[in-house]
């Protein structure tokens, strides 16, 4: 078995860019725990919007959706 998608640094970078752009993931340096919490909360928000399984983890389905061609307007108005 290959490494889990969330272990791949390229996938994490892709997810961070995506969440920053479309889900308002805050930028900047923060404590590791706070940073991980924010990342997981934003993944959950995204998974809920796309009706994926809400785990907070960067699984294959979630990565698939992040890689699809899409509109550049954020999914959450605020």
């Amino acid at each position: 078995a290959g490494p889990l998608p969330h272990d791949n640094p390229d996938n994490v970078r892709l997810a961070e860019r995506y969440l920053h752009r479309f889900y308002g993931l805050p930028a900047g340096l923060r404590g590791r725990k706070a940073s991980l919490d924010a990342f997981q909360d934003k993944i959950k928000e995204m998974q809920e919007f796309f009706k994926l399984e809400v785990t907070g983890n960067l699984d294959e389905n979630t990565l698939d959706v992040m890689q699809q061609p899409r509109c550049g307007v954020p999914d959450v108005g605020e």
């Binding site: 479309f22 919007f49 796309f50 009706k51 994926l52 399984e53 389905n61 959706v65 699809q68 061609p69 899409r70 509109c71 550049g72 307007v73 954020p74 999914d75 108005g77 605020e78």
Partner: protein, 367 residues
């Protein structure tokens, strides 16, 4: 559907637009037509009217640009971000930008400008992203023919502006089917390398043994050349192929890839020309036979010889007692046939030749 915070909208119904520059991918007239048609989609269901300006400042300024293109909201080269638009307001509000690094088309190859423009102009009028995968305002690109708005989009825009007073007749796309709707029926069910694929309207669900939640996707998103409606499907695991039927045509998949040489006519299987549609199909691994259900009868296709078995068609009601005379979809697992008809699923023992259980069709989703 969703709106932007504070429900941003235009305060009058006469909106101006201007196409500031053009993509070299299409003729100027094709761009004009795509934008005008995209605006008409929204005008059809609201009191809004759109007037084109050739110079000066319009409410909606439309342009094509690459990477950083003047709004500190850069595009990213081919694929990924396709376009963006700003909600109604002064200045940049309503402005609509397309990524020039995409290849814009007027057909289903690469990115169809009309579809993307209709989505973006939805933002320019006050619509935010919808989480309904069948809605035009869903954030992921998908090509489709016909009137692009779904009921969901129409409800959203009419909440902002009201309906069209002239009651123009439109044919919206239905909302995506809900997996736990108690009246849910299926078009087709098949296995695909250990996953279960369930077709319904323009969508399919993918049930993966390692995923808790089924994944719903538009058929066209995965297989743009397949029709929007699938009648039947089955997997032949020996050939590692899934066969998909729609009307008198059939397609083959190897994994998620369409096999070359298709579509073929279903009559190549040996069905008479009078059969115009297969309702359900199921492959029985133990016997090497595929059962094809049409109206109140079924046929048996021998996969090894590639021919129809003699003595068919036979009556569904006679050979499968207890489950009515028509089938929408069928599947086979561990000696049991699962027949789907309307919102009911029949578990039928192939060996003891009787219905063992009757369930709701969507119990397959653990609803």
């Amino acid at each position: 559907y969703n709106h932007f915070p504070r429900k941003l909208k235009w305060q009058n119904t006469n909106i101006t637009f201007r196409i500031v520059n053009y993509t070299p991918d299409l003729k100027k007239s094709d761009v004009d037509r795509a934008i005008r048609n995209a605006l008409n989609v929204w005008a059809d269901v609201t009191p809004l009217t759109f007037k084109k300006l050739n110079e000066g400042i319009a409410d909606i300024m439309i342009s094509f640009g690459s990477k950083e293109h003047g709004d500190y909201n850069p595009f990213d080269g081919p694929n990924g971000l396709l376009a963006h638009a700003y909600p109604p307001g002064p200045g940049i509000g309503g402005d609509t930008h397309f990524d020039e690094d995409e290849h814009w088309t007027k057909d289903s190859s690469t990115y169809n400008l009309f579809i993307v423009a209709a989505h973006e102009l939805g933002h320019a009028l006050g619509m935010s992203h919808s989480s309904d995968p069948g809605a035009l305002m869903y954030p992921v690109y998908s090509y489709g023919e016909g009137f692009p708005l779904a009921e969901d989009d129409i409800e959203g825009i009419q909440e902002l502006y009201g309906p069209n007073p002239n009651h123009r007749k439109v044919k919206p796309k239905p909302d995506a089917p809900q997996k736990c709707d108690p009246m849910l029926s299926f078009d087709a069910v098949t296995e695909l390398r250990g996953e279960t694929i369930i077709f319904k309207d323009r969508f399919y669900w993918r049930i993966h043994p390692q995923f808790v939640e089924p994944e719903q996707t538009l058929i066209k998103n995965t297989w743009p050349s397949l029709p929007n409606k699938v009648d039947a499907a089955y997997e032949n695991p020996e050939k590692d192929q899934v066969f998909i039927f729609s009307g008198i045509r059939m397609w083959a998949l190897n994994g998620y890839t369409l096999v070359d040489g298709y579509p073929k006519y279903i009559h190549k299987l040996g069905l008479p020309k009078s059969v115009r549609k297969i309702d359900a199909a199921v492959h029985i691994r133990e016997t090497g036979k595929t059962l094809l259900f049409t109206d109140e009868e079924y046929w048996s296709y021998d996969e090894a010889s590639g021919s129809m078995d003699t003595g068919y068609p036979r009556s569904i009601e006679t050979d499968f007692p207890g489950m009515g005379d028509e089938v929408d979809a069928a599947a086979f697992h561990y000696g049991y046939l699962y027949f789907f008809h309307e919102h009911v699923q029949y578990e039928y023992s192939y060996n003891s030749r009787k219905v063992i259980r009757v369930l709701r069709a969507n119990s397959i989703f653990n609803c």
